[in-house]
């Protein structure tokens, strides 16, 4: 017995490394890039294409010139460094015209104002984007449009103050009417009173206030806007206003009330059926024929209105998709809890519908932001083409072609990519199901 024991290993064998072809980078390459003849060919073609592009463009980027006063000087520097016939990127144009790309023709001693407006805008949107921030910051968000307007355009501070005053006035009117006349009259008062205020009372009140307490900063006119200040002004204002408008339109389209429903459908279908350029031309040219001669209805404001309406129509359809995706039971459950229409919409329906719609909404916003470059067709100096054409028209920089496009395109990419990443973060955060 003692001599006939079977072989028993007493210690564990050390684990062996997996075969080379089944681990690490090789496995990944085999599985993902060379899994079959077709994929191998496609991989090689892809690598070839990338290498070709790199071969073509890398030297051009490598031979960049950052310090020069004209394109001719750029070319001289490149020839001196890399020999005759060499080509390279002339980023000196961006360096020299950098302020123009950012601010357009905004007076240079006032550059701090758009910068401050931008910084404050970041503060204002923060509580909207990140709910963990204190709720009180929302008050700043609410008054930010007035601050931003004042900083960008300047003039008397009483203009935005008086304009903003319409809101509490409407609210007060509603509160006063509510016990006397009921909900419908209160709603009408909340709309009519501010409109009356803005149309007839705001101007004399503003002038009186300005006469009593003058508080003005230097005025900047719309024609001096350009570059990214213009793109941001139009883009972000339109984004901020098109979402609420789009929600209202989407609700209107779902409404059982005949007029509300038909108006919403008509508006959405009309706006979506017309190219944005048409709307911009209408804003810049056609309106002039209807307005009294000499009326100076600000061109940027007109463009913002048109872009907002345009985006709102698309947002409305995106949100309608979200609403349609909600099971009917959600509406019924809300009703069975005794919630009225607005409460149900605010507490039950919209949070879910908006969550579903996030990717579509953000796509629309990204599209909107990029569409701000179309304002070049109504003579505004957008960064991509308006400023670039102006820069190219100087004798120093005529002949520069790719550099401005690449530069502006890169900035647009980072902004749009940022929006896209934020929407993915938001989707992850709001994900409540367990799929």
């Amino acid at each position: 017995m003692s001599n006939s024991s079977a072989f028993v290993r007493t210690e564990m064998l050390p684990p062996m490394a997996p075969p080379v072809s089944q681990a690490g980078a090789v496995k990944w390459l085999r599985e993902n890039l060379f899994s079959g003849p077709l994929n191998t060919i496609l991989t090689l073609l892809g690598v070839g294409a990338v290498a070709l592009l790199f071969w073509e463009f890398a030297p051009w980027f490598w031979r960049s010139v950052w310090n020069a006063n004209s394109l001719t000087e750029c070319r001289q520097i490149i020839e001196e460094r890399y020999g005759a016939g060499a080509t390279g990127a002339c980023w000196a144009v961006i360096k020299e015209r950098w302020p123009q790309y950012l601010f357009g023709f905004y007076p240079s001693h006032l550059y701090w104002r758009p910068v401050l407006a931008f910084a404050l805008m970041c503060v204002a949107v923060a509580p909207v984007l990140y709910p963990q921030l204190p709720k009180k910051m929302m008050w700043f968000t609410l008054i930010y449009p007035a601050i931003g307007f004042w900083l960008l355009w300047g003039g008397s501070i009483w203009v935005p103050v008086v304009a903003l005053a319409g809101l509490p006035i409407g609210y007060l009117a509603a509160r006063i009417i509510l016990p006397i006349g009921g909900a419908i009259l209160a709603t009408i008062a909340a709309i009519v009173v501010p409109v009356v205020w803005w149309l007839f009372l705001a101007l004399p009140v503003e002038l009186a206030l300005e006469a009593m307490i003058p508080a003005s900063i230097e005025q900047v006119r719309s024609r001096e806007f350009g570059g990214f200040v213009l793109a941001f002004t139009i883009g972000f204002t339109a984004i901020a206003f098109s979402l609420p408008l789009g929600i209202l339109l989407a609700l209107g389209r779902q409404s059982d009330m005949f007029i509300v429903n038909k108006l919403s459908v008509g508006f959405i279908e009309f706006i979506r059926g017309v190219p944005l350029i048409t709307l911009l031309f209408t804003a810049s040219l056609l309106l002039n024929y209807f307005l009294p001669p000499g009326t100076d209805f600000d061109i940027i404001l007109r463009v913002i209105i048109m872009v907002t309406l345009f985006a709102a129509a698309y947002i409305a359809e995106v949100i309608r998709g979200g609403l349609a995706a909600l099971p009917k039971g959600q509406y019924e459950a809300a009703a069975s809890l005794g919630l009225d229409y607005w409460k149900a919409t605010r507490l039950i329906i919209m949070p879910q519908a908006l969550k579903i719609s996030i990717p579509g909404i953000v796509s629309t916003f990204i599209g909107l932001f990029k569409d701000t470059t179309l304002v070049v067709f109504v003579g505004l100096l957008d960064p991509l083409k308006g400023i670039t054409d102006a820069v190219r028209a100087s004798t120093d920089w005529k002949g520069v072609y790719w550099e401005p496009y690449i530069f502006v395109g890169t900035i647009f990419f980072f902004i749009c990519f940022g929006m896209s990443r934020y929407s993915m973060y938001l989707e992850r955060k709001l994900k409540t199901d367990h799929r």
Binding site: R75, R97, P99, V159, V162, L167, V376, R392, S394
Partner: protein, 339 residues
């Protein structure tokens, strides 16, 4: 909530804008204290903002001269960049007081579009640029060529007319802008690039290898470029027309921005005296003061000075005077007498 703020701003802006009563352009401009001048969004040598946002160029100089004549200050100009698509609407709808944007004076524009061209500040014409190694020395040899051409311009029509008249064929490569046309031409997408001769010269000057490109001698169209005003306000049209004439006449009589003060007091030439307001009172006839022309000429010099400073042979664009020389030098510039 936000929407209401927005509407409020809108309403406020509309209100504060105020409504100007219908009055003559001259009164409007004087009341405003600024001249709204429609210029190109950017054309080398003719109108372009520099790095500080100051507009410069051949067309811009006309704006400055008019502002100096009417408002007494050449800097009181609001330059409104206009595109080729919206320039005439900007004028007819009253957004700009006059247009000086290398626009060709044609019959239909003058009549159908309700504008008045008040003169010509540059006589241009359409030409061709080709690579030297193409071995072509005349536009007549371009049969079968591919031609880069900006769409929607008079040049496109001229090109078709020219090739048809000479019984030749061509393939058009449509491009949207001048910059794009240059790029296509350099990349070899077309044998020839055609646009106004002034534009060709500027384009060629900006190439890395201008010596390898030639501009063919044929000019296939007439492109008189000039300032335009709205129909119906003849006084304003006269002011623009005679400001331009004053610049041209000043060159003819040797009045420059350097010697103008001296000539204003000492010149024995009665025409110069009338022009500069030393004798007679010509300005009053069109609602201006005596020294309007003197200020206009002082703004950026006489026609010749403006030409040399912006597009002339000393600049990178290097245009010769050609048709734009004084009539005494064999050109077409011929200012009517000031009397």
């Amino acid at each position: 909530m936000k929407k209401s703020v927005f509407l409020g701003t809108l309403a406020a802006t509309t209100l504060f804008a105020g409504i100007a009563a219908a009055q003559s352009t001259l009164e409007t401009v004087k009341a405003r204290g600024e001249l709204n001048c429609g210029v190109n969004t950017g054309l080398v040598g003719f109108a372009a903002p520099d790095a500080n946002g100051n507009w410069q160029g051949f067309d811009v100089a006309v704006c400055k001269a008019v502002a100096a004549a009417v408002l007494g200050d050449a800097s009181k100009v609001v330059y409104i960049p206009t595109t080729s698509a919206d320039r005439f609407e900007q004028l007819t709808s009253g957004k700009i007081d006059f247009l000086v944007r290398n626009s060709t004076w044609t019959y239909s524009r003058d009549n159908d579009l309700k504008m008045d061209f008040v003169g010509v500040n540059y006589y241009d014409g359409q030409g061709f640029m080709v690579r030297k190694d193409l071995g072509v020395s005349s536009a007549k040899e371009l049969d079968g060529a591919t031609v880069c051409i900006q769409t929607g311009t008079t040049t496109e029509l001229n090109l078709a007319d020219y090739f048809k008249a000479n019984n030749m064929t061509y393939t058009a490569v449509p491009v949207e802008t001048n910059a794009e046309g240059e790029q296509q031409y350099i990349a070899g997408a077309c044998d020839a690039y055609t646009t106004d001769a002034s534009g060709l010269a500027a384009t060629r000057a900006a190439f890395a290898d201008p010596e390898n490109h030639i501009i063919l001698p044929e000019i296939i169209s007439k492109e008189p470029l000039g300032p335009a005003v709205r129909h119906g306000d003849n006084q304003w049209g006269d002011i623009i027309r005679w400001t331009l004439n004053a610049l041209i006449a000043a060159e003819e009589y040797g009045v420059t921005s350097a010697n103008i003060d001296e000539l204003a007091t000492s010149s024995q030439n009665p025409e110069v005296q009338r022009l500069l307001g030393s004798s007679d009172d010509l300005g009053a006839m069109m609602g201006l003061d005596k020294e309007w022309a003197k200020r206009a000429i002082k703004a950026s010099g006489n026609y010749g000075e403006i030409f040399e400073a912006t597009i002339g042979s000393a600049t990178p664009i290097g245009l010769a005077r050609g048709l734009n020389a004084q009539w005494t030098q064999g050109g077409l510039l011929y200012a009517p007498p000031f009397r």
